[in-house]
Amino acid sequence: MYKIKHAEFLALDIKKFVIEAPKIAKKRKAGQFVIVRANDKGERIPLTIADSSIEDGTITIIIQGIGKTTKELNAMQTGDFFLDVVGPLGKASHIENFGTAVCIGGGVGTAIAFPTAVALKEAGNKTISIIGARTKDLVILEKELKEISDEVFVTTDDGSYGFHGFVTQKLKEIIDCGEKINFVLAIGPIPMMKAVAEVTRPFGIATVVSLNPVMVDGTGMCGGCRATVDNKTVFVCVDGPEFDAHKVDFNQLMTRNKMYNDKEKIALNHFECNYDIAYEKAKSEIYQ
């Protein structure tokens, strides 16, 4: 059992959890993830470690409530327990002083990019961060990123905050302004990561993305997380999760991630009928 020492909503449906897990806190490096299972009927889902504190023995994860499992997790509160938290899993981000590094986070991907942005800065990079969100209320970690970045840009799809448009437009603008970029990290929805790869490809800028396939064990045992990179099959949980954006077959990943879409609807329905109280409570908390 892993105690939730602190839980709070950062934005609509996006919740931050600080969890007691001293061993993982001590071990984890930027880019690694944990597998979490809420209860004994729950799924095992991968979540990137956004932050940790060795002194407190805690790790921080940030969850966007989309499907049944993530909504159920987001209904949990300070003092509750996750049944299983295992990690740190996957390979750590490759960090070096590239020169100028741009970290792009789309939606909850900002939380996943955050620890790597910190590490890149600490390695001596000039660090530019771009946060993309649908709308102003969904912008997360702006303050935290400002503390560690040389520059931060926010883009919203609807123009309600910051730059009106997509992260790729902002990235293109930065490149066009003559900024010499040596490294780009992009984490977010697959279409966003794919689009970033296409922006940087003609300039030959090294670009890394963090993939988010469906996983089960997270240790290389099932092969469910496989993806195609450089025309070869990889197991994202042990070979990644970060890969060269210019070599990833994003279309295949997108299709594979839709494998259980129909089931997801059934599960969500089942959940909302059975747990409407917990769910309503979670919702009301958001609007407090």
Binding site: V86, C222, V238, D262
Partner: protein, 474 residues
């Protein structure tokens, strides 16, 4: 009863084990075999002629005292028989169900030279079930505590048998397991209808009662490294992480939606209970009314195909590139699969998976094979028949062609020797690795093998660890 002559004993026919009707069981996940009654067990036990030199024992990788326990069964002392088995085997209810007795103890049995061998496996199963169901699993006496601590990495049969032996020898034992449940393949791989999870849990609980500590959610290499375990707490380590890294066929279309490794398919259904979706959250491809094919001929393939039938598949095929005689699966499993309506496409090899245009599996291109000369494995080599290619429409495919070695321990333990296949190199006599204080056994050493071989390795290691803790010799 025990006065019965040898001749009369030989006249008793081998007793069949009651089982669920195939037409019923293909729709449920309840156990197929129902086990002997007391009467059947006694009758079967009488078939054993109590050889002065019991050759059956030579066939048992852990050396269960087969003759002696069978004699106790014949006398009706079932609890005595259970204690006798447990002197050598900590998981008798598991082994009685999944061991390939037909190629181990039973193949050696003297009675089998003329007729059918004594049903040793069925008796073992009966005895273990009798004890568990009537008085609960009784635990043996422990030696006085030695104050030494041993870490076991992986909770499959190799790890569990080593833990059971070491705790009896008086050492403290902690088992680290990557998953959230204890049992390795017994929990995530072998299905409920062949090995009920309750039985695995009961045998694991018995180890807990003995004082074995279990730590789940611990991926050694990541959560702690082997070196950290040695430096901080433990005097010796036994690595028993199994062979968990599924092989794929390496053909086109293998990453289409609807193509699974057997590990993933079985883990979703067994460990994560996808057959009870949506009460349990983990889904699996909905095979109801669909056509599915499983590629491979081992126990894993049989488990996957029979599972898909139970989930409601219309047609379920085994596709295997050699012929039925070469199939490594247990005969009983093949027989059960056929009874349940599984179709066997023998001498057939997949060439590529066909896309439905949206990234989902629509079919498989197959090619017929014929058998040529024996290859290095001694089995006749399958050779493609040119021009025999055809496409079969299928909705789901499961690849069950074996497992390689998981790289996590290798990547995080630099001074441990591995062979080219990624298996840990050990001295077979004592399971010592290249690294002082570290032993290894089970599938991570041999590649995918059997439950009982893994348990045998655990036992050999336990003896060697006990010795090492006394003399520190490497």
């Amino acid at each position: 009863m025990t006065e019965i002559s040898k001749k009369d004993r030989m006249k008793i026919p081998r007793q069949a084990m009651p089982e669920q009707n195939p037409l019923e069981r293909k729709n449920n996940f309840l156990e197929v075999n129902l086990g002997y009654t007391e009467e059947l067990a006694k009758l079967e036990a009488l078939r054993c002629i109590q050889c002065p030199k019991p050759v059956c024992v030579e066939g048992c990788p852990v050396g269960v005292k087969i003759r002696d326990f069978i004699e106790l069964v014949a006398q009706g002392d079932f609890l005595g028989a259970a204690a006798k088995i447990k002197e050598d085997n900590v998981l008798p209810a598991v082994c009685g169900r999944v061991c390939p007795q037909e190629e181990q103890c039973e193949i050696k049995c003297v009675v089998g030279k003329k007729g059918e061998p004594v049903a040793i496996g069925r008796l073992e199963r009966f005895v273990a079930d009798f004890e568990r169901q009537n008085v609960g699993i009784r635990t043996p006496k422990l030696n006085p505590k030695t104050g030494k601590k041993v870490a076991i990495v992986g909770s499959g049969p190799a790890g569990l048998s080593c833990a059971g032996d070491l705790i009896q020898k008086g050492h403290d034992v902690t088992v680290f397991e990557a998953l959230h449940e204890i049992g390795g393949v017994l929990i995530y791989g072998i299905p409920e209808f062949r090995l009920p999870k309750e039985i695995v849990k009961a045998e694991v609980d018995a180890l807990k009662d003995l004082g074995v500590e279990f730590k789940t959610n611990a991926v050694i290499g990541f959560t702690d490294t082997i070196d950290e375990l040695l430096e901080t707490e433990f005097d010796a380590i036994f690595i028993a992480v199994g062979a968990g890294l599924p092989y794929f066929l390496g053909i086109d279309g293998e990453n289409l939606n609807g193509v699974y490794s057997a590990n993933e398919f079985l883990t979703r259904v067994n460990l994560m209970k996808a057959y009870r979706f949506p009460d349990f959250d983990t889904p699996v491809f909905d095979v109801k009314g669909k056509d599915i094919a499983v590629f491979g001929g081992g126990n894993t393939a049989m488990d996957a195909v029979r599972t898909s039938k139970r989930l409601g598949a219309k047609n379920a095929y085994i596709v295997y590139r050699r012929s039925e005689v070469e199939m490594p699966a247990r005969k009983e499993e093949v027989h059960h699969a056929k009874e349940e309506g599984i179709e066997f496409l023998m001498l057939t090899n997949p060439l590529k998976f066909v896309d439905d245009g949206n990234g989902w599996l629509d079919g498989v291109e197959l090619q017929k094979m014929e058998l040529g000369e024996p290859d290095s494995s001694g089995r006749r080599k399958p050779i493609p028949i040119v021009g025999s290619e055809y496409v079969r429409q299928i909705d789901m495919a499961v690849i069950a062609i074996g497992n390689g070695s998981n790289p996590i321990i290798q990547q995080t333990t630099p001074d441990l020797s591995f062979n080219r296949k990624g298996n840990i190199v050990v001295n077979d006599a004592n399971m010592k690795t290249s690294k002082k204080g570290v032993f290894a056994g089970g599938d991570i050493v041999t590649g995918g093998a059997t439950v009982i071989l893994a348990m045998g390795a655990g036992r050999t290691a336990a003896n060697a660890i006990d010795q090492y803790l006394k003399d520190s010799n490497w």
